[in-house]
Amino acid sequence: MNKPGYYGEWGGAFIPEVLYQTFCELNEAFQKAKADPAFWQEYLSLMSTYSCRPTPLTHAENLSRHFGGAQIFIKREDLNHTGAHKANNVMGQGLLVKRMGKTRVIAETGAGQHGVATATMAAKFGFACTIYMGEEDVQRQRPNVFWMEKLGSTVVPVTSGSKTLKDAINEAFRDWVTRMDDTHYVMGTVCGPHPFPEMVAWFQSIIGREACGQIKQQFGRQPSRVYACVGGGSNAMGIFQGFLDNPAVELVGVEAGGKGLDSGMHASRLAAKDGSPGVAQGYKTMFLQNSDGQMMDTHSVAAGLDYVGVSPILTDLWQQKRVRFSAATDAEVMAALDLTMKKEGIIPALESAHAFVQAFKEAGEMGRDEAIIINMSGRGDKDIFTIAHAFNDPSWKEFIKKKGIEYGA
């Protein structure tokens, strides 16, 4: 049998000794909560009164017709409070923090969605909150930084390393090893040391549980394939869990292809040949690293996918061939985004648009009597600066220019 916290050969808890006790307590609190049906009830009730769960499953009739193949359904995590699936995880951990009696939370964030979600949860639960965010991401996702601050959190730009998500995680750990007594680290994805992957996967499983029932009700049976983008892998694990035990449902994870899998400028740990097993950020998985074990710079137009590691649970499912992996390039993502907005009136986050790319590539070759589900992990509002820039929108630029001059540029 596997060691606890391992998925095949992946996972574990490679933590500094100073956190040993903290993890013991966390494990205990989590396992107790997980075994307690009242906890899940409390979680469901919170999510249905504070966020908008269950989130809808939308039949994208226009896109389905456009590709002429499978019926495309979209699971609408964008309609969560704060605009992404991150809320599920964060509110769950918030309840756990309350149980543990801690008064302060910290978090890393890439796209800023997890940061906003954590800041929101902290405001709601009355916790102090510090968010670590790579300096490059602070630039890319300024609106989210603004909201985190207005929600009462402190945002610390991280200037070490590649100044992105992985460095924010390191920095959050550095905070945690200093203040573990009153502080909980709200890990934002299904990565990091055990029990985080299990815990985040559990909270996010709400997506798949809902989707499984919804597709049956709306389509009459299970989908042929389920697509999700994979940064750390939390939204993917969330929806996949609704279908994992049905081998007829093919599960497809879509990583950031950046400027192309051959360019070296991507964040594809599993779909590209560049990944290799490693241990960092507290867990063992496939990392984008050089032959010395130094983590590489990754690239994606989507800050939330721009990460060197990937969920150990997904790496195991990939190794078992239960989840197929592919990648979407930045350019493909912009095209899919454009099409989705115009055809369905839906604006996916840049991260989520990766899942749309792969679904669009495959839908046309499937039968009209088949269904696929795309997990729309979040909404694109937060990406306006990136999207407007990528579309080279002249009136947006003019607007920003004028505002800049107003502010003394």
Partner: protein
């Protein structure tokens, strides 16, 4: 001689009530500087040196060492060059040298291969802050096989039970983190620190090194009698940055 016996022997010298261990980030600012710094350290009475092989994700380190890791990598340090440099140091200087690094560097190299080459080089111990005994089965097996000490860390949050468990795996000495947090910040040596040191002592027979924030003769004096080894880390890195290599010798000489 086994590393712990060697340390105990050294401490038997009435002039050496406490040993000094210093810390070097390999390749920062350059191997040449490392070479000259080590020379001065040894000449001025340092007893052990831990050489950090840089890693891109130094999760347990503070800003000064993080920056040193990062710049060393940017300037082209590789694991290969670290090993070659270590071989030169062990050949040149008689004191024990240890490797400090994160687990991925060893994992990626191949645990057994790494031990084999470290043995050949004459490295006496490894300090791996992100490898708890639970995760290091292979590592600890190789450590015993090759007779290179796996040096584990006690933290102020470690319970007596946990300390005894860690002691079962540790060889050479125990590295006691003087406080919570990362390397580089000042430590308050107060009553609770004394309690902590007493607990450490009660739960192992191995010599105790104390690190994190030790930067002056006062600190070393304070530790004398409580610990066996004082670890100077961030302080010498900053010293070289601010005053150059030549300042290292006098600084070390003044510590004890």
């Amino acid at each position: 001689m086994e590393l712990s016996s060697q340390i105990k022997t050294a401490l038997a010298d009435p002039d050496r009530k406490i040993l000094l261990m210093t810390h070097i980030v390999l390749g920062y600012p350059s191997l040449e500087t490392n070479r000259r710094v080590i020379e001065q350290m040894v000449a001025n009475g340092v007893d052990l040196i831990e050489m950090q092989i840089p890693f891109s994700e130094p999760m347990a380190d503070g800003p000064v060492i993080v920056k040193a890791n990062q710049e060393a990598i940017e300037r082209g340090i590789t694991v290969r060059r670290c090993l070659d440099f270590a071989r030169e140091m062990t050949a040149t200087h008689a004191i024990p040298f240890l490797f400090m690094t994160y687990y991925n560097i060893i994992f990626k190299f191949g645990v057994e291969e790494f031990f084999r080459e470290a043995k050949e080089i004459g490295i006496r111990g490894f300090i791996i802050p992100d490898l708890p005994p639970e995760e290091g089965e292979d590592f600890f097996a190789q450590s015993r096989r090759y007779g290179i000490a796996a040096i584990l860390i006690y933290a102020p949050t470690s319970t007596p039970e946990r300390m005894r468990e860690l002691a079962r795996y540790s060889r050479g000495f125990i590295y006691c983190a003087a406080r919570k947090g990362v390397t580089g910040k000042q430590t308050d040596f107060d009553a609770s620190f004394n309690d902590y040191m007493r607990t450490c002592r009660e739960n192992t027979d191995l010599p105790l090194a104390v690190g994190f924030g030790i930067s002056s003769k006062e600190d070393v004096d304070y530790l004398t009698g409580k610990a066996d080894i004082a670890v100077i880390g961030t302080r010498t890195i900053k010293l070289v940055e601010e005053q150059g290599v030549a300042a290292v010798g006098p600084f070390i000489a003044g510590l004890r």
